[in-house]
Amino acid sequence: MEDIFQGYKGKALEVLKKFNVRVWGKTIIDTTRGEFRGTVLPRAENDDDQHIVIKVDTGYNVGIDIVTINSMKEVGYSKATYKIPEKEFPYKEGQPFVKLLGTGGTIASRLDYRTGAVIPAFSPGELYGAVPELADICNLSTEKLFAVFSENMEPEQYKALAIAIGKEIENGIDGIIIGHGTDTLSHTAAALTFMVQNPPVPIVLVGSQRSSDRPSSDAALNLIHAAYTAGHSDIAEVMVCMFGPTSDEYGFLHRGTRVRKMHSSYRSTFRTIGNTPLATVSRINGVKPIIENYNHRRKDRKVNILPYFEEKVTIVYYYPNMQPDIIDSLVDNGYKGIIIAGTGLGHINKPLYPAIRRATEKGVHIYMSVQTLWGYAHMYVYDTGRDLMAAGIIPAENMLPETAYIKLGWALGQTTDREEVKRLMLTPINDEITKKEPYNGYLVYQGGVPEVEEFIKKVRK
């Protein structure tokens, strides 16, 4: 049966029932604050039960406090059907075939009254309706693998994605796009780098920082860039494609292992840490590599799919006065791998040493990464570092903590042999560890420096 009181509950629901007014009913409401006319809208689940929402003629929504309502009368009914216009995605001879795999990100979206938020639109027809430029770039097909928020993307999904990608490559696709929420986009990118090795085609993860229900959203441009990269670029790697500057100008392609979300809301939030991004992408200039050494596109369909993951792995973010029981309890709870994000060159305090030793003895694999994000774990510099290594901690060089976490999960999904795990961890698959850090790999400029201010004024952000 259709819910005619969508989202209303408690007292507000009683009022609607009492006056026999449905959601989408046109109503005249007599209140102690005067008369209101409009169409009753569904109410978001988390909002209170003290108000009824109507859309007035001018298109605005207003809430009516139920304690002020004398009477309501339904004088009509018109249900809105919220739908992105679906147009058939046109096939164009000679254009590359690109597959968009959906995980739940917001490329195009529509309103969900239940939560009051936006839900993604997805079919090629819907996407074509929202971003018609795509038809000039590639022949697009889509498949919705899951519909989860970014924070709910987990190892099960990583594995399913890797297998799906393998199948698409086998079937001859020219490039793959993965639509993804941005919060854990880089975790998924790292996981796919390890699980899909030596791909012959580009695998591009893309999302949007501003929901696509707004005219200034970055979604459309990101999607255009991703489609261009997937269909036309020579770089056959797992990449993240998001805004370069916050302006609508060009996108960056980041290696999945070195990329990180660095601002909670900026469009240009994704940055490559400890190196430059792989390339820039724009509609006018196409894909322009910044790093010359990359995996080239191939005609063959050979790819190595390694969909493994051990879930009992964690990250411990070290802080002063951390107590050993933190480590102990992880061990006692059956954790098999720990990534520590240590201070400075990779340090933790002395009282933790016995706990580390105990963990190692119990077969737990512990790797050291750095909280500073930029730079290497150099554990030989101080005695303390050497003591830690003696206790069983292995420095993970300049692997980002999140990447190290994903990699350890992936490695332990394949073996528990200490040496084999170590070999997997320290042999870079795609730059999760780099031999050196270039001078321009670390540029965190500070506002207020006159030269920086001058630069910001001249160069669009």
Partner: protein, 667 residues
Amino acid sequence: MKKSPSSTKRVDPRKNYLATRKAIGYVDRKDAKESDYQRIGFMSGLEVHQQLKTKEKLFCRCPAGVFHSNNNYHAEVIRHMRPTLSELGEYDGTALMEFKTKKEITYRLNNATTCTYEIDDTPPFPINREALEYALEISLLSKLNIVGEVHITRKQYLDGSIPTGFQRTAILGVEGEIQISNKRIGLIQLSIEEDSCREISDIGHKRIYKTDRLGMPLIETVTHPECLTPDELREAAEYIRFLNRSTGKVRTGMGAAREDVNVSCKGGTRIEIKGVSHNRWIPELSHIEAFRQWALLNIRKVLLSRLSNPNSWSTTYKEIDPKELGIENETLLAMHEQGYVVVAALLPHFGGLISHFTQPGKCFISELTDRLKVIACIEKPNITSPEDIDAPLLGNDTAILESLLKADENDAIVVFWGPKEDIPTAKDTITERCQMAFEGVPRETRRPLPNGTTLFERVLPGADRMYPDTDSAPIPLANDYIQRLSKNIPTDVAERYKQMKEWNIPADTHSYLLKKNLLPVIESLVNLGLTGQFAGIFLGHRLKFVEGQVPAHPDFSHSRIVDMFKFLAANKLDKSLAKLMLPVVYRHPNMDFESVLTSIGFKRRSKDELLAPVNYLVEKFKEITICNKPTPVTTQNWVMGQLHKQALGNISLSELRNSINKNVENN
């Protein structure tokens, strides 16, 4: 060899402009009578925008009311706008048009007034409660039905004037009313919203904005279209402005209050003239717009008489090389020379309509040139025609084009030009506007010019551009909160008019007193024992005069005037002294009143001291009036004249005169 064709018989554009002007019965506003407005069914309403005087912006913590010059910025950001669906699942007409124009929009950011919110790199902070409260007070004063819960809504604007592509706005009340001199005007609603960017330039496909004003709290009061003459419309605008100002919580000065004027005529459509910054412009603008619609309806009538099935109408476009065709028109040659594509268009059945009057000094070709500028981004001049009333194509050129396009005298010819990439949009634009001519008046917003005419600005947006703001939660407005607010609202403006009448304050001061929100000051002065009339005249004449003469000091406030009268009363000085003190107090509001007195040369004197020289003066007057024998009256007047200045402030002038009169009589 090309045969030189001869031109068909064509209307003289200038004569045709005047003839059509007459045919539709256009009258200048100064000659227009109420019956003229009834004849064309003039109907109009207002959307009055008013900035609120808050410290911070509406959805972030940047300061409000701080402005920068165009080149004072720290960074630039670029955005493009793309239409999205409304809540009801429709694309908005304006949105699609703006998308067609493909503008690159640059924002100039100054760190002092802009944060990541303005540029849409962070979601909104909770709404500014100070602004909400001010807006609610004004809603109560406007007798609106206050909503139970405020829902922030997004209203799409794809012109780039807001970097998000939408304005956050919310309704606070619906269905109120105001009382103007002869009737009540209904109010549809009042909303609170964020102000938009200020435009720096708009050339071709690039538009530049600055973000200092962006996000400042604004209210919009919308009336029903119930004003039936331009004067009623102006009166309603003034009333709403006075009402807003009566709270003392709104900004004044350039751009702080702007009106959108909605006008239609019988059979026309609601046209919005956006951003009228002076109320005195409203009558002329609305008058001309109503007649523009009347003229467009006449064009429609003529077209339908020529072609019964408008669906069968179509245009022919030919890209031309003017030089090769032997065209002599210098503009066309120059445009082609600089690499523009020049297009000749045949507009069947439009003969004599291109030069048809639409506005004073403008004809139908203005409707085309404006749209080419806005929609196809082609700078003016961008079009001409044998029927252009300013610079028409001449006979020879016309003949060449007629033969090229196979046009007869019932057809019109226009020639437009522009960069190659804009030509497809330009063609669509011309076709679309001509098709609309068969329907009458296209729905659009228009930009006001100081001479009372208007320019096409964009297609009128509908309710389809509204979308709930998924970034903010609804804000409940409980009964006790609203009741508390209603206790503190100022007196009604209509009530104020009555009060001024009762006090016998001259009518020529009323607008000034309301505009400056001086009624509360008059009330304070009345409480000090002054009459309302004296206070009204003192402020309405004297203060207004001083404002025009003396530079203002930022610390001056009207409460200083109340303090001045308190001081005079406390020191038992006469109120007439205030007139002399005011220019000093206005210029130096921080000077103590004793020093003000010194600076105007005032000395304290008792009545006896003042009257002491009377006998001496009477004798002196006798001496200097040798020819005419002094009468008591001339003597009294002369003595009065001599003592008047020293007496000012010490005793009232009537008391001085009485004493002098008595003295002279007793002499």
